[in-house]
Subunit: 243 residues, 2 copies
């Protein structure tokens, strides 16, 4: 009997993969995933069989992976960032249901909250919320409610999927909600293509963020009331210096 390993490959560069994820990709028979993520690992594991599906075909992708594992193959499903956080691990457990076969292993990876924060400095030293602005699977009203709650409770906020072709104005709408509770000058950061070609970052105010151009390769960070810029880094102190 084969096995399905759900692998979080991190932001995309080899150095930010875990030793366990690298080992899994070296030992598997088939690497399957959304074509953009498969292309990130294709060159390093050239002897593998590769299978890709378009972005919105998560069900088909997971079914394909489970079927190959049932046929006796060791299948690695690659997810960018973490395998669980907005990743495929849950859907794979759902589709396998209550049976115990094929075996499933979930290998965690660096989610953009960790890798993007390190690129900006240290914006997540204190409590924070992670919210996706994609309303493809979530009602926008629910997203609004979560943004309000996080801002009102002074949590730092990390925004995943801040925009896509279908929803170019979600970040502006999110900023308008946050501005009900947070000042215009609240320090924010935008990271793009973390660990990939064209990696870049920018610090700006929440007021400026409102009209910032972002796409699906961006992750956005909103500081809490202690976050400030130190030597061109976005830093959220935890309060050690006040002890």
């Amino acid at each position: 009997m084969g096995k399905l390993i759900v692998v979080g490959i991190g932001p995309g560069n080899y150095e930010n993969m875990t030793i366990k994820a690298d080992r899994a990709l070296r030992l598997c028979d088939v690497i399957i995933g959304y074509h953009v993520y498969v292309d990130l690992v294709r060159e390093r594991y050239p002897d593998k069989e590769f299978l890709t599906t378009p972005m919105t075909q998560e069900m088909e992708r997971c079914r394909m992976a489970l079927d190959l594992a049932k046929q006796g193959k060791t299948v690695a499903m690659v997810c960018s960032g973490d395998s669980g956080i907005y990743g495929m691990a849950a859907l794979i457990y759902e589709l396998r249901g209550e049976c115990s076969a094929p075996g499933i292993e979930v290998i965690p990876g660096l989610t953009a909250a960790c890798s993007g924060a390190a690129l900006l400095g240290a914006p997540l030293t204190h409590d924070f919320a992670v919210v996706s602005l994609s309303d493809r699977l979530t009602a926008w009203e629910k997203i609004e409610k979560r943004l309000e709650a996080a801002a009102a409770a002074d949590l730092s906020i990390v925004l995943y999927n801040p925009a896509s072709h279908g929803r170019p104005d979600h970040l502006r709408r999110a900023c308008d909600i946050l501005l009900r509770h947070l000042p215009e000058d609240r320090l924010c950061g935008v990271t793009r293509n973390i660990g990939r070609e064209g990696e870049n970052k920018r610090m700006l105010s929440l007021g400026e963020l409102r009209s910032e151009k972002v796409d699906m390769f961006c992750t956005v960070f909103i500081g809490n009331d202690m976050t400030r810029e130190i030597a061109q880094k976005m830093v959220t102190p935890r309060g050690y210096r006040d002890v």
Copy 2:
């Protein structure tokens, strides 16, 4: 001039370190950190100089590391989990201030939200909040407000530092706050010693969590309203099957 590298070593086992973190520890001159974390890496990098300080001496530890880097050494400050999320990166930027020397590099690592979630299954597929129950550096009222907000907005919640010798009843107090908004049978998970000797996990209801024994090596997961148990795993569906 030396350099200070803040290294997130992940949960503690070598396999869950990133390739970049392993490389940094192999190439540095000195490894410094809280003794429990230094002991996790000591055997693998035997030729290094090791420096440890007690848990509550973060300032001294960071100053020591900056001084050694100023003296020309390549210093690796190890943090368990991520180097930024409740880690030392922010304090190091604060203490260095506006000068550009010594150089600081932040290498992200797997935080317990990622590694613990993978151990339990896939509880963080959807939006979530990360909250520490330690009131050493944060007013308990602020912690309460954040728990209340996260629960009211149906965010999954990850609790760091759920207890310590000084505050054995913080988890019970947190559960009482969450129970104002969440049902007694809300699915929760407790992980302990992730990736280390004695690693274990348990799924239980929020009502049961209230009287669960936890310590500083535990990370606690509270599901959202879609979280359920599938084949002994804690799974939060994202809704792909409803599309």
